[in-house]
Symmetry: C2
C-alpha cells in the first residue's frame, strides 16, 4: 500500500483524499488543515487523521471536537508521498520541509513549473515522472488542453493551437470572490499563462491562449481552434474522444448547452460532489474544415486534476509502469466512466 498524506485539505485536497482512499493500492495516512472549517469535520467523518502545521494552535480544533493527530512534520514521516494541495504559492514554501524529510511531493498547477522542475499530465508524460521526488500536476485548464491537444497531435500533428479560456470567477464555496457583473480580462495581455503552461508538458506545440473571468462558479469553458498538419475528419475525432479514458462527449440529444446543465447532469449521475473528472467536449461543436478544427470543451476546475494526482502518485512510486494501467485503475476505483 502506498501511504499518502494530503497537505491542505480544501477544494482539491479533500477530493484527492477521497480518490486516493478509493484506490486498492493506496491509503490516506493523514490530512492537514491550518484552521478549523467545515472541511475539518468532513475529514473527521471520513476517518482521516487530522494534522496541523503548528501544534500550538491545536486548542481551537479540540474545542470543536476535532482531534488533532499531530504535526504536519509527523504526518510526512508516515507517508511515501504527500499531495501538496495548499493555496497557490504556498507549495513552494513547503518544499524545503519535503526536501528535509525526503518524502515524495506532488504540487498543484498554482505553483510555477520550477517548483518541481517537471509538469505532469498522465496522458502525455506519465513515464517521465517515474522515480521523481517532485512532480507538479498542471492546472485544470492546462490539463484539459493537454489531453485533447496530445490526442489530436498524435493522430494528425498540430501546426498551431488558439484557445480562449472563459474562466469561472470562483469555486462555488468561495463567497468572498468576484466579479458580480463584469467580464474581467485575466490578464489583459496576450498570451495568458495557459499557452506556456501547456508547453511545460508538450514543449513542441505552438499555442496562443487568451483568458477572461466571468461571474459564474461551475466550470471553465474553452473555445479551441486547432490547425492540424493534415486534413481532419469529424467522425475520427469523435472516435478518438470516445476512446479516451479522460475525455467525454456532451451529446446533442441531452439538450445540454451550458456548464450549469452539465453539472446538474453529473449530480444526477451520482458522481461524488457532482465531479466531472473528464474534459467535457460538446460533440455538436466539433467543426472540421480541412485542417481547421474548432470545438468547445467545459472543464470542471475542482475535478479534472484529481485523477491526475492519483496517477502521479503511482508514477513517482514506480509501482505501475504503464500509464494506461494506472489510468484504468484510477478510473475503475472511482467507478468513473466518461459521459
Amino acid at each position: 500500500m502506498i501511504r499518502v498524506a494530503i497537505n491542505g485539505y480544501g477544494t482539491v485536497g479533500k477530493r484527492v483524499a477521497d480518490a486516493v482512499a478509493a484506490q486498492p493500492d493506496m491509503e490516506i495516512v493523514g490530512v492537514s488543515k491550518t484552521r478549523p472549517s467545515f472541511e475539518a469535520y468532513i475529514a473527521k467523518a471520513r476517518g482521516f487523521p487530522l494534522y496541523i502545521a503548528d501544534l500550538s494552535k491545536r486548542a481551537p480544533f479540540e474545542k470543536l471536537g476535532l482531534p488533532v493527530a499531530g504535526s504536519v512534520a509527523e504526518m510526512l514521516a508516515r507517508a511515501d508521498v504527500v499531495v501538496d494541495a495548499t493555496p497557490g504559492g504556498v507549495g513552494k514554501e513547503n518544499k524545503p520541509l519535503y526536501e528535509k524529510t525526503g518524502v515524495k511531493a506532488i504540487f498543484q498547477g498554482g505553483e510555477d513549473h520550477e517548483v518541481a522542475g517537471f509538469s505532469f499530465c498522465s496522458d502525455c508524460n506519465y513515464r517521465m515522472a517515474m522515480g521523481r521526488q517532485f512532480v507538479r500536476v498542471v492546472s485544470c485548464n492546462t490539463t484539459g488542453l493537454c489531453r485533447i491537444i496530445n490526442t489530436l497531435d498524435k493522430e494528425y500533428g498540430i501546426a498551431k493551437v488558439r484557445a480562449v479560456m472563459v474562466r469561472r470567477a470562483s469555486d462555488p464555496g468561495e463567497v468572498k470572490k468576484g466579479p458580480v457583473d463584469a467580464v474581467v480580462l485575466d490578464p489583459v495581455t496576450v498570451p495568458s499563462h495557459h499557452g506556456p503552461d501547456v508547453q511545460t508538458v508538450l514543449p513542441h506545440i505552438p499555442i496562443s491562449t487568451m483568458a477572461m473571468i466571468v461571474p459564474t462558479t461551475f466550470m471553465h469553458m474553452h473555445a479551441v481552434q486547432v490547425d492540424l498538419k493534415k486534413d481532419g475528419k469529424k467522425e475520427r475525432i469523435l472516435e478518438l474522444i470516445r476512446g479516451h479514458p479522460r475525455m467525454g462527449l456532451v451529446l446533442g440529444g441531452t439538450g445540454i448547452k451550458s456548464t450549469a446543465e452539465l453539472k446538474e447532469y453529473a449530480l444526477d449521475l451520482g458522481r461524488p460532489r457532482g465531479d466531472l473528472w473528464e474534459s467535457c467536449i460538446f460533440a455538436d461543436s466539433i467543426a472540421v474544415q480541412g485542417k481547421d478544427v474548432s470545438f468547445f470543451q467545459a472543464i470542471h476546475q475542482e475535478a479534472d486534476i484529481v485523477v491526475e494526482n492519483v496517477d502521479a502518485i503511482r508514477a513517482m512510486v514506480g509501482s505501475v509502469k504503464d500509464p494506461g494501467e494506472s489510468i484504468r485503475m484510477t478510473n475503475e476505483a472511482l467507478h468513473f466512466v466518461a459521459i
Copy 2:
C-alpha cells in the same frame, strides 16, 4: 431637415432618437410604443410625439398621462426615414407597411440580412447604401468586428479571422433573462452567426466565430485572432485604431481590465447613459507575432450601432455623399471623441 420616425422606443430606439435629435440636419417626428412603460415617460419628457400601432389601445396610455399623437401609419406618413428598432423578427413583419407607405426604413441586426437585402456598416460600405429604401444596420457584435477587420484588411490584407464572442446575458434592464450562474454556448455549433454576418458586409473575409453567453449585463467581450497577409506592427496598429473615429484604445494606465470598469469610466466621462459608441480595444492586449495579431475588444451592445443608424439615415437620403463627413457630423453632434 431629414424627418425621422422611430418605430419601437426601447433600448435601441430611445438611443437612436436622442442621437438623431442631436444632429443639425435631422429631427424626430415621432416615436412608437406598443404599451406604456418607463420609456414612454422618457419620450414625453424629451418632447417626442408618441404614436401607437393600434389606436384602440390608447386608453392605457392616456390614463397614465401619456398623450398619444396618432397611429404608427400616421407617424410614417410624416417621416422620410423610419428606424425600425422593434425586437428581432418584428421588423420583418413591419416591412409590408413600409413598402406600402414608401418610407425609407432601417432595420436592426436582429433581422436577417434578407429583410433589407443590404447590410450596413458606415466605415465599410456607406456609399453602397445611398438611395436605398431598405438598409439593415448589422448587430453590435458584427459592427465591432467589421470596424477592426476592415481597418486591418485595408492595411495588411486578411488571410483569416478567428473570433470568440463572450456575450452579456441581457441588457441591464432586462430583469427576466438569465443565466444566473452558467456559461451558455450560443449556439453549441460552430460557427456562430457572427462570422457569416460579417460577410454580409465584407464578403471576401474568411472568418470563423464561436459565441457564448455569460451572466453579466454591461458589455460583450471579443477575443480576436487575425492572420494578416503581411507582417503586422503593433505601433502601426495602435496608430490605425487611434486614427479611427469609431474605435478607441483602453490604455493600460487607466487600470481598466473589465467591462464593468469601462462602463463606470464612460459614466464618469459624462457620456449619455454611459454609452460607448466606439469599439473599445485594450491597447495592452494587442499582440503581434509576424502575421498573427491577437487582441481583446469590448463592445457596448446598446450603443455602437446607434451612431451607425444615424449615418445610415444620411446615406439613404443621399444628403451627404462622403462617409467620413457623415461620421464626423454624427460624432460632433454627440460630442463623441473616442476614448
